[in-house]
Symmetry: C2
Subunit: 203 residues, 2 copies
């Protein structure tokens, strides 16, 4: 009984759905959750380009009686910046319709009374404005890109090793992704690096 | 039948051995292999300081009929630089008596006809002078310290992912160590990071 469809394929399938040529089983759908990068647009220089047909597909889904939400593992920018980029590409969407890792993490941090040491991209920091970061008792890492320096990783490590029960939140588990100038290591490998020191004591 | 003793404890035990007050079982020893950092000296500002008694202990071992060799996992400098530092501290030792990871790696690289992409400390690079590094077909990482940048890790990753059968040599597996300004992540966690992308394809 699939009431919600989560799409992470490509805009061709998306367009077909939006075209209202649905089979009986698809008619039972109440809503659609769309992945974004690689589904709605391809990342690249200047922020990327929409995938052919995707802007129109989103428009048709919005005009339908389906609930529509967007889900992304993007952690290099706030939702506001991210949505503004997609709007410039022609997509109809608003911040409240987009689900991304940082606001979910903020919600958990507040729920548990945790104060994070952040190792994230500069453009993501504003997502954590409402969170107390004095005397941190956990570490949050995102796709920090150039901020993944030896010094910053040591700083995060020193915060973790100073805790009785180290708590590390990773905003993703991806291992690598493609940019216009080649493949880049993603947050998942840095998460693994920061997990590794715990396997034994100093060796 | 221990014919060689490998010591990685501290200079007190070392001094006791050198003092010739050995039990019967210890008398069967033919040689001694000494760890260095944390056994002969403590690392720190200006290169570190000898541990009390260790200079004299090495002197006595040299005067004995025991074979004496030194073994280290040091990968931030060539053996020449490393030995010069120890000599300045007062230790009697020569380059040929010291076994460290980089020369062992060079030996394996030549034996297998491998050409490395290096992600190592600048001061270690001369150890690899005799190795062809054009069109690399493997990656060698050491304790690169500040050279563990986002860019350099991506470069090493791109070399690895471009190979049909990726080959990664790590000059150590240590997870962290202490310096005067705090704990530092060691090469082992970066090794783990570079291993991680292989667990699945792009995620």
């Amino acid at each position: 009984m699939p009431h919600i469809a989560s799409l992470c394929a490509n805009s061709h399938r998306l367009y077909t759905m939006a075209d209202h040529k649905w089979t009986g089983s698809v008619k039972s759908l109440k809503g659609v959750i769309l992945d974004m990068c690689g589904v709605l647009y391809d990342s690249g220089e200047g922020g990327g380009v929409p995938i052919s047909g995707s802007v129109e597909a989103v428009k048709r889904l919005k005009e339908s009686d389906l609930q529509l939400r967007f889900c992304t593992n993007e952690t290099q920018a706030t939702r506001e910046k991210f949505v503004a980029k997609l709007q410039r590409m022609g997509f109809e969407l608003s911040v409240s319709e987009v689900f991304s890792p940082a606001p979910a993490a903020v919600s958990i941090l507040k729920e548990r009374g945790l104060k994070p040491h952040l190792l994230v991209h500069d453009d993501l920091v504003p997502e954590f404005d409402s969170v107390d970061k004095m005397n941190p008792n956990c570490v949050v890492i995102g796709d920090a890109a150039d901020k993944f320096s030896y010094k910053n990783l040591n700083d995060a490590f020193q915060v973790l090793i100073g805790m009785e029960k180290p708590v590390l939140f990773s905003l993703g588990r991806g291992r690598y992704y493609k940019e216009t100038d080649g493949l880049k290591l993603d947050v998942g490998v840095y998460m693994k690096a920061l997990e590794t020191w715990q396997l034994t004591t100093c060796s």
